[in-house]
Amino acid sequence: MQPDDVRRALTRIAHEILERDKGAADVVLVGIADRGDDLARRLAEEVRRIEGPEVPVGVLDITFYRDDIGMRADAPEVHETRIPFDVSGKVVVLVDDVLFTGRTIRSAMDALMDLGRPRKIQLAVLVDRGHRELPIRADFVGKNVPTGRADDVRVLVAELDGEDAVVVEGAR
C-alpha cells in the first residue's frame, strides 16, 4: 500500500465507525503500541473532520499481558500505556496495524478489561493478513492481504518511519 492508499483506507474506516456506532458519542479509540497508537490518532482526526466531535484517544501497551513471556530470549521491550479516560460504558475501538494470529488482540482485550468495563469492544486494523490462531475477527479492515505464514508484513507510519506504507516481504 502507498501513502494515498493508507489515507483512503483510514478515511473509509472512520466513516464505517461513524456508521456502525451511529455517530461518535460514546466512541473512544485505543491504539496498541507501537504504530497502532499513531493510526488511532489519525482515525480520530478523520472522525473530527467528518463529523466534528473530538474522540478521545488512548495508547495501550500489551507487554504485561502477552502469553509468550518466558518463551523469548530476552524480556520484551515495554512501551507506555496512557488511557486518560474511563473506558467503562464506552464503545472502545481497538486500533492496530496488522491483524495476524489474534494473540495481540486477546492480550489487549484482557488489558482493557482490567481498566474498566467497556460497553462494546470493536477492532480496527489497517491490514488483515490471515493465519488466525484464536477466534477473533476485525470489525473494520483497511485491506485484506493474503500472505504466507512465514512472510513478513510491516506497516510503516510517517510518525515513526518517515512515510506511510505497507510492505510484504516473502519468506526467504
Binding site: D61, T63, F64, Y65, R66, I69, G70, M71, R72, A73, D74, A75, P76, V78, H79, E80, T81, R82, D110, A111, D114, L115, G116
Partner: protein
C-alpha cells in the same frame, strides 16, 4: 541484563536506564483500579529474609503480587534456619520447591553471590551486610530522575553513616555511573577508608555543602551495626550533622530531601523536615514497588538459557 541482580557495580549505564524506563510503565499500573497485570503468572518468587526488614520485604512482596507471581515469604525466626540449617541446605530446599527467583537479605556481605553458585533461580540482592542494596539505589535514582528530570550533572550529598551503609554504596556507585556528582558528608569515623576509589568527594562540613546540592540524601544512624562508638553521643551527632529546618534553608530552591527509611526523627533528620513538601520519602517507597516490578519482570520475563 544479567541473570541476577547482585550489585549496582554489575549494571551498565544502559542497564540502569532500561530498568528506570521499564519502572515508569509499572508506575502506571500502580495508579489503576486493578493494580495487577498477568506478566509473571505461574512464576514463584521466594522472599528469603534472614535479617529484619519490613519495607523492603513488603515492597518486594507487593511487586511480585502485582505481576501475578506466587510469593513465598521465608524469614529466619521460626524456620529451619533457627533449627541450625545451613544457608546452602536452605537454598537447595527452595530450589527443590521450584523457586524461579530468590530475593535474599542477609547480614553477611556476599551471600547473594554465594547463593548463585548453588541454585538455578534468579537471585536478587535485597541487602547484604555492609556491601550493597541495589534495589534501594535504583529506586532512589528513579525518584531523582522523576523529580528533577535527569541524573547527569545532579549534585547529590549523602549525609551520615556512610561506613555502615549498603544504601550509600549502591547509590553512590549508581549516581557516579549515571554522571552525577556525589559528596559524602559525615564525621570522619563514619566515612569508609577506601572511599578514594568511589569517584566521589568527601566533606565533614554539612553547612558548607548544602548550598550546592540538588539532593540531600540523609542516611539512618545505624546504631545496631555500631560495635564501637564512632561518635561521642547521638545528641552531638544531631547537632553537627542532623538535617534541621535551618540547614534545609541553605539548600537551593527545589532541592530534594531523601531518606531510605526507617527514620530516626530528631537524630539524623528533624521531624518537621521529614514532613516538608520537598521531602520525597513517601514517593521513594511508592517508586520502590515499580522499580522492583521492573527488575522482576526484566529478570524473569526472558527465557533462562532454554528456548530462544
Amino acid at each position: 541484563m544479567n541473570e541476577h541482580l547482585l550489585s549496582m557495580h554489575d549494571l551498565s549505564a544502559t542497564d540502569v536506564t532500561r530498568i528506570l524506563d521499564t519502572a515508569e510503565s509499572f508506575r502506571e499500573v500502580g495508579t489503576r483500579v486493578i493494580k495487577k497485570v498477568p506478566a509473571l503468572r505461574g512464576r514463584t518468587v521466594v522472599n528469603f529474609f534472614l535479617e529484619n526488614s519490613t519495607r523492603t520485604r513488603i515492597s518486594f512482596e507487593l511487586a511480585a503480587k502485582r505481576l501475578s507471581a506466587d510469593v513465598i515469604n521465608f524469614s529466619a525466626g521460626g524456620s529451619s534456619v533457627a533449627k541450625g540449617e545451613s544457608l546452602k541446605d536452605t537454598a537447595l530446599t527452595l530450589q527443590a520447591m521450584g523457586a524461579d527467583a530468590i530475593v535474599i537479605r542477609h547480614s553477611s556481605s556476599g551471600s547473594p553471590l554465594q547463593l548463585t553458585r548453588w541454585v538455578d533461580a534468579h537471585v536478587l540482592n535485597a541487602g547484604d551486610g555492609t556491601h550493597e542494596h541495589p534495589t534501594q539505589g535504583l529506586l532512589d535514582l528513579y525518584t531523582m530522575r522523576e523529580k528533577l528530570g535527569r541524573l547527569e550533572g545532579l549534585r547529590v550529598g549523602i549525609v551520615g553513616d556512610v561506613l555502615h551503609s549498603r544504601v550509600a554504596r549502591s547509590l553512590s556507585f549508581g549516581l557516579v555511573k549515571m554522571g552525577a556528582e556525589v559528596t559524602l558528608v559525615g564525621p570522619p569515623t563514619l566515612i569508609p577508608p577506601d572511599v578514594s576509589a568511589w569517584g566521589v568527594q568527601v566533606s565533614y562540613d554539612i553547612e558548607g555543602v548544602l548550598p550546592k546540592l540538588d539532593v540531600c540524601y540523609v542516611l539512618r544512624v545505624q546504631r545496631e551495626r555500631q560495635r564501637l562508638e564512632y561518635f561521642p553521643s547521638v545528641r552531638e551527632y544531631a547537632r553537627l550533622f542532623g538535617i534541621t529546618r535551618d540547614r534545609v534553608a541553605l539548600m537551593p530552591e527545589g532541592g530534594l530531601i531523601m531518606h531510605p527509611g526507617p527514620m530516626n526523627r530528631g537524630v539524623e533528620i528533624d521531624s518537621d523536615v521529614a514532613d516538608l513538601p520537598r521531602s520525597v520519602i513517601e514517593e521513594q517507597v511508592t517508586n520502590g514497588i515499580a522499580v522492583r516490578m521492573a527488575l522482576l519482570f526484566l529478570l524473569l520475563g526472558g527465557a533462562k538459557g532454554e528456548v530462544a
